[in-house]
Symmetry: C2
Subunit: 247 residues, 2 copies
DNA sequence: ATAGAAATGTGCGTTGTCGCACAAAAAAAC
DNA sequence: GTTTTTTTGTGCGACAACGCACATTTCTAT
């Protein structure tokens, strides 16, 4: 936590070859992301992309009546601001820091410059975007069919995967916002998990004690997305970046 | 309906400049899409992309227990098979023909060839992908917060936009599959609309009589996606394709 | 014309989530 | 240490959607 974040903590940045890194790294700016900070608001033209290291950013859709729903989560496996390279420059959702930490910021200008070389970064970001797409699709299905109990398990697992330890700092109120359910619903679901000895929590801090059981109680959605993300990004997991065959 | 489909009926193909069209068009194969046909199954490696003209294709997620949910819809404004150019080659969802008609099929090989020239088609497809992403995100939020009544309105509007007339051929059973709800739920919602004189239906055929009222009863999700899609794709609406400024 | 199949209509008890109103507990502020 | 604020717990009634059972209607096939 207190150690200096390194850009290679972000899996996308880490997957780049020496070549690309040399061009990019000097332009990265280490940025502290505070809990609740809004990286961009719905409709905002984005200026930068963020490569989280130990932070988590939620992509949240906020409805006209104020109710909200988490669309996807981005941690050290990804990047916030895909519409900068996809071409739209903005999206109708909010990017909000769900877990404080650090990220490396890169100006859209430099990102575009490297992206338009159509090399590794290009390929890598498109694959990542597909992984994100899968996550959104699964979220849609999950919202349709699964219970709060199941979705809380999924949310906890998603968070755990993006944090080092097994503790999450977050109130039930905020989790409810993410899931798009009542705070009381989260209280009830969390109580069940605590009574079963799977988690332990007190005022804004949740500790996962029994992850296997959490996975067991979770709906299939977690595993499906994890498997698909691994498939899409496995080739990028280790440097040096292997020669990309486009077929 | 009976007239020969032309590739320019598809907005993406239509937006291409003469140059690109010349390279692509000879490789397009007119294909009939029958109701219920599966263009690809979850996990299948795709071989072709499909540019619908007067057909509609649903991207459907099917859960382990058989329940399903529509993730997004593709009509003549788009293309089926984005993972071919995004790099993943497959997705964990099913593409199924929701409304019979035609599409132009293009082999992944040729698509990739043109995509990798990093010209118009590249840019165009990425923007379309972002529009698709928006649709999925909105579907997730809609599934969380809106009623069957509202979602049926949205579904009807989405279908209407992709068809010429104001009639849809589809049973309530199938609509229920798409929405991921009970057939009886659709029956009830549709009855309300019929009693209100907004639609008229009989055994697998729905006619929209009062579209404005349908929009009024719909949740915001329809308008949000429509507006964003228009924004993302407006530059491509009319040939010839204007010089693309990447800034 | 008639039988069969497919699609739609209706009723009913169950369940999950909601909205609201407070109570209780824990941390923060003074 | 006492007060205030924040967070969590609990108990309602309301309601939308569910699962199931079965009646009814409409189209198709022969």
């Amino acid at each position: 936590m207190t150690q200096t974040p390194h850009y290679e903590d972000n899996l996308l940045l880490n997957a780049l070859s020496k070549d690309v890194k040399e061009r990019i790294v000097s332009q990265l700016k280490l940025t502290e992301l505070k809990l609740g900070a809004v990286l961009y608001e719905s409709g905002d033209v984005m200026n930068d992309v963020y490569f989280p290291t130990n932070s988590i950013v939620s992509l949240l859709y906020v409805m006209e009546d104020g109710r909200s729903a988490e669309i996807s989560v981005v941690g050290n496996e990804g990047v916030v601001g895909i519409s900068l390279f996809m071409g739209g420059l903005s999206t109708p959702s909010r990017a909000i820091v769900q877990s404080a930490g650090h990220a490396f910021r890169l100006s859209g200008k430099y990102l575009k410059l490297e992206f338009d070389r159509h090399g590794e970064l290009h390929h890598l970001l498109l694959r990542y975007t597909q992984a994100l797409l899968t996550q959104m699709a699964q979220t849609a299905a999950c919202n349709r069919h699964h219970s709060i109990d199941q979705q809380l398990c999924r949310w906890l697992l998603l968070s755990m995967d993006r944090l080092k330890g097994n503790e999450i700092s977050m109130t039930q109120e905020l989790i409810a916002n993410m899931l798009g359910v009542r705070r009381e619903g989260v209280t009830e679901a969390a109580s069940k998990l605590q009574r079963a000895g799977i988690i332990e929590y007190r005022r804004g801090h949740i500790t996962v004690l029994d992850r296997p059981e959490l996975e067991r109680r979770c709906c299939e959605c977690y595993a499906v997305v994890k498997k698909e993300s691994d498939r899409l990004l496995e080739h990028f997991a280790y440097p040096p970046y292997a020669k990309m065959s486009c077929q």
